[in-house]
Symmetry: D2
Subunit: 313 residues, 4 copies
């Protein structure tokens, strides 16, 4: 039995898990992330691997990390939340754990997880769209993770969808993630509530009258309970997602689109408006297959599972 | 010596050529295109192959056709200008010419031509952007033509760049090709001239005062002669191209971007503003390699050469 | 009893009517418009006045004309549909009819009609928005028709609402009337039907399957009958209208907004979505009175009645 | 000789001045503004009037205040920076100073100042556009201050110019002042400098490498010294201003447009690009007079002078 260790380096936690050939996590551990200290993070990763290895015959290690990873799956060119700059993470970790290590961009790893064991396991091409704080993306094309020429592709959240639009943290205006992320959902819901609009009062009441307590999960819960304002906000988010993914589909022609991230928990309250907007924005409707839009199945473990599995390949 | 025949099915002409392993066209023939009569076009293609074959030991045939081609490189799902609907073009042609035939989308074929023998021959990934009547695109990713899950990818001209924007022939609003094509260039230049703007008077004079005679080649020629209005129009087109290709680069991370099509004849009068806008719209400048933007080298023979070469693979 | 004659110069008809002090039309006549022949139109107007005068003691004549009218209410600077260029229309007509004549922009005249006798008769400020082929506007401010410094104000249809938006006949991109007119309504409904969208099939069936027969009145009738697609289209038009009129309200702070033109026949199917979008786009909600949005009351006679009444002032 | 007292209530200072019939300030005093304490501000105003009155035979008092002022020029409906809500400011002040008092919106007062004694003294209609932290506006139409039906007009900064655009402090997206204010100028210049763009390095050097020290005056000074990046930024601001004022001109048809506020100090480096964009966005060029665009002449004393003069009328 070939077991692999998957590591997911998040902003606050590092998760490590032992993953079997069916994508099942046999054991999982979590530690606090030593934040921005690059070396400490490497130590923590090695510690997790060492612990898991005591109980499981791990043969390889796959690490999913936010950031630009070079094509050889070894070097982190740049990580937004960690002090890695041209860091030979593969080398550093192999020195410590004496096992073969591969490094993957976390969204690519998650796309692979969904492709191999989740919502896309019947597909050959897959576009993963994660709707969380931002909008992330991962591509599997022709059965392979697509890494781009420089390891910096699939940054779909920074496709420009509105010229002169909302300012993005990246410095550009009008990025997709400013309209289609969970942060956008919350921003617009709060703005509506603040304006005194009647339709937003249900959400505001649930938040105890405190605008700052209007969150993604609160909106989703309200929508599930039938709150009209919350449903409208999710539908608006779905519309932006569908229109953006239509542009991506003109370019990539994926077999299936998988939607993950926290906001995907809203299920069809988000996905149905997304599907409608998507279908309405595709060229050549009637002469082309229209990719299905599905909810992700592996939740926030997709990256860990995908990274582990990719380390075996 | 392995020779292949490449066929380029255009709206008014069908070109056929014998292409060697270095991408050189040894002989080329052209016939009028029997327009929309699907069977007559097949006859015409077979006729070209037969003629060329009399003088050259052709082993395979590659056909570049505008439209959606299925992944098996056999069936034209839909062609905008020809009456092909789910047409087994490969089967029909093989029956007639008794040689192995492959069908390729014309932009994909052109991308391969530039990749194998043209502006991208040193690269492993390439995005071809053709700026003509519309904006077309072809992708070579990791050394392979990217065909998408359904053969309908790389339609970059229909990425939406302006919500509620200019109406496109496809029925959508705000498609990239409404802002970044040769047609857009001419439309805006005529509109400016009609408005009586001083800066457009040079172009209008060259056109003998006839708005309809302001064409892409006229604008390019005027710009080369230093006409300020023509240069401004090309720069504006370049800006849209650069900004759109920046979005594509966030998604695809190509190694190199090759610009073809008639308007690319304007060279750096188009490409320099494009490069500037492109660089200004990329996330993570400073931490990523920035793909070069180059002019295509094979002109309007890229598709023929590419189709021929792909038939050998 | 002071009677005035009102003239409405339309593209295909010229209407003349005798209007009393209560804005009631006592008698009305119509003749074909001699189209673009400026002098023939003047003859036709004089003919109408002469006929009406035989039966009614008319004291003044007011002419409503599409185009730019100078501030002295005498000269047509420019008319889009008639060959008037700096035409002293007042002088020409007074020579012919030997009565005092005033010339008014037709939308201004209609705004005055609604202000004096129609939906705004209780108000002191009024913004008239006519939703027809284009979007027209007329202003009554502080109880006076607002004519602008040069007689060319209140052209609200050419406020830009979408940068790089839909091309307008005027040569600009993104004009309000490209989104909020009856023409926009029809264009979008046809486009939706052409795309094969399920929701548009009801409209298409009513049109006997002929896209060109989807018209404004057909959409309104379908919407009244409960057709979801037609209602959606009217709601979308209402949204654009409401958002545009919100911008106008930030600038003009009218007491009341009156909506006329053919599409206003859709009543609250248009006006309710307009009101909702309007209220949602006003700054300082809660600290300011929100102008009411009302349907016009005088139909297509507002201009004739208004022009007549203005000639008495 | 009829002397009036003008009061300008700013965020940090309250200015009071004695203004003669020629708009000349004979004496001016300033005190700290007691910020948000409504009554203390009234005391401070009364104190200024009392002091000035000891030396000058003041007959009336005009107060310019940011906020919504009712049409009777008495009540502040809402002030963004002071705790006035439906405050009878006229009544409160008249009780204290025993002189006739009128209250005016500050931008209206400034428009009147420029109209009566400044850049518009030869005009009958005037649109004042102040380009500072935000974009403010004041209208004089047919020789009278235009106050709107509810005292809340001329808020041109909140005309929407980009659907789904940059978030405004008012809660809406895409307001004019997010693109055409001094704040927008600084935001974009800093963003450009942060991105590492070569063209912004001159501004950054002047700021000693500190992004936060790139300010409006720094940009203007750099532009005057020929810095290409600063000139580009001012030209971009001018373009937005010109395009927005073109929309306003379609609506209002002013005789003259006066540009004030801090950024207007950049003179033709701002106004020339504004004029060019303005002329390029007007309907019916060639058939209409094009309003001149002029720099304001009274600087930040326009409001004080205008308020004083309006109190005499």
């Amino acid at each position: 039995m070939s077991l692999a260790c998957g590591i997911d380096v998040g902003g606050t936690k590092i998760a490590g898990g032992v993953v079997d050939l069916d994508g099942v996590i046999i054991e999982e551990l979590r530690v606090e992330s030593p934040a921005t200290d690059a070396e400490a993070i490497e130590e923590a990763i090695a510690g997790l691997v060492t612990q898991l290895r005591e109980r499981h015959p791990i043969e390889t290690v796959g690490v999913g990390a936010a950031g630009y990873v070079d094509k050889s799956r070894a070097v982190v060119l740049f990580a937004p939340n960690v002090a890695w700059r041209n860091e030979d993470l593969k080398g550093e970790l192999e020195k410590r754990v004496q096992l073969p290590v591969v490094i993957e961009n976390d969204a690519n790893a998650a796309a692979w997880g969904e492709f191999a064991f989740g919502a896309g396991r019947d597909a050959e091409d897959l576009l993963l769209v994660t709707v969380g704080t931002g909008v992330g993306g991962g591509l599997v094309l022709d059965g392979e993770v697509y890494r781009g020429a420089n390891g910096v592709g699939a940054e779909i959240g920074h496709m420009r969808v509105v010229p002169n639009g909302i300012l993005c943290g990246c410095g550009k205006h009008g990025c997709f993630e400013q309209y289609a992320s969970g942060s956008a959902l919350v921003r617009e819901a709060r703005s509506l509530a603040m304006s005194g609009a009647q339709i937003a009062q249900g959400m505001l009441r649930r938040a105890g009258g405190d605008l700052q307590k209007i969150t993604g999960p609160l909106i989703t819960e309200a929508a599930r309970d039938g709150d009209a304002g919350a449903r409208q906000q999710l539908a608006e988010l779905g519309r932006w997602l569908g229109e953006g993914v239509a542009s991506l589909t003109e370019i990539l022609d994926p077999e299936v689109v998988v939607v993950g991230g926290g906001v995907s928990e809203a299920d069809d309250l988000l996905l149905d408006p997304m599907r409608e907007a998507f279908a309405g924005q595709l060229v050549g409707r009637g002469f082309r297959p229209i990719p299905g839009i599905r909810k992700a199945e592996l939740g926030n473990r997709a990256g860990l599972i995908g990274a582990a599995d990719l380390s075996r390949r």
